[in-house]
């Protein structure tokens, strides 16, 4: 059972510079065929200021602190990834620096077919370092069986 004292806990923020290389590397891994992720001129023709990030690129920023799992005391053998939600507020592009921070939004107990479990909702929020503009919220639902 995860300690309820972590509800509302905020991890140390982190930052990442989005580069064209990082985006094309990611786009290739998902076998993305659109040229806007590889060619800056194509991106600009489509109205972007630079190469835009693919929809799930922010996954790389899932946890602002590498010690997320150990801090909460999560046993990987009891962990199930329930799903993800990404809310988009502004388009991230190559050249942007993102500051992101992970927060434990809630922990509730549920009972399912496999017995009692903790459902942990974790939100990582990203904003543009230079403009302060909000960029995304990445919401993770983790299931930890007792």
């Amino acid at each position: 059972m995860i300690d309820r004292k972590f509800i509302g806990y905020e991890f140390t923020p982190n930052e990442m510079v989005i580069t064209r290389w990082r985006i094309s590397h990611f786009a290739n891994a998902i076998r993305e065929s659109s040229p806007i992720y590889y060619d800056v001129n194509e991106a600009k023709n489509q109205g972007f200021k630079d190469i835009p990030v693919p929809t799930t690129f922010y996954t790389r920023m899932t946890f602002s602190d590498n010690n997320f799992f150990s801090t909460l005391g999560i046993d990987f053998r009891k962990l199930l990834d329930g799903g993800r939600e990404i809310k988009y507020y502004s388009q991230g592009c190559a050249g942007d620096t993102i500051i992101y921070q992970t927060k434990v939004e809630n922990i509730v107990e549920k009972e399912g077919k496999r017995g009692k479990m903790d459902l942990i909702t974790v939100v990582t929020s990203g904003k543009n370092k230079d403009t302060g503009e909000k960029v995304f919220d990445l919401i993770i639902s983790l299931i930890v069986f007792h």
């Binding site: 891994a29 998902i30 790389r60």
Partner: protein, 143 residues
């Protein structure tokens, strides 16, 4: 590949997105994704390790499948802006599986000056087993 932008007027509730196939997801792609995402869990690219973990073989990262579904959405909604995208992991996608992607328009509405469509999406593997299920909200341009 030339494709026209999608407009709000082109959408009607209940319409289906054109079905699309992606894959097969081969080992090289699993390695590429491990590198790009930073998720180096060996169940995704080391068959021996995957079998020790009681899996039938290497399995795709759930987030790789979500990424492919995301690409399917932005491909369809060309010129649109993705506002929200959520996925629930329903089953394993195995190495060498080919994904069939499907979607449907749930509703269209206007809010805060934006013209939005909400769609449902899913990915299936060969035996029509669903591996991810989710939804997305996209702001579209008007004519």
């Amino acid at each position: 590949m030339f494709k026209e932008d999608l407009f709000f007027e082109d959408i009607s509730t209940g319409m289906e997105l054109p079905m699309s196939k992606r894959g097969p997801i081969i080992r090289q792609q699993l390695i590429d994704y491990a590198s790009a995402s930073g998720d180096y869990n060996k169940i995704h690219y080391d068959e021996g390790f995957a079998k020790i973990a009681k899996l039938p073989g290497c399995i795709a990262h759930g987030m790789l499948v979500m990424s492919i579904v995301g690409s399917y959405i932005t491909d369809w909604a060309k010129g649109g802006v993705l506002k929200d995208f959520k996925i629930r992991f329903a089953g394993m996608t195995n190495e060498n599986d080919t994904l069939t992607l499907k979607g449907k328009v749930l509703k269209k509405y206007s809010e805060n000056g934006e013209n939005l469509v909400e769609i449902s999406v899913l990915s299936e593997v060969q035996d029509e087993r669903i591996t991810t299920q989710g939804s997305a909200v996209i702001a579209l341009k008007t004519k």
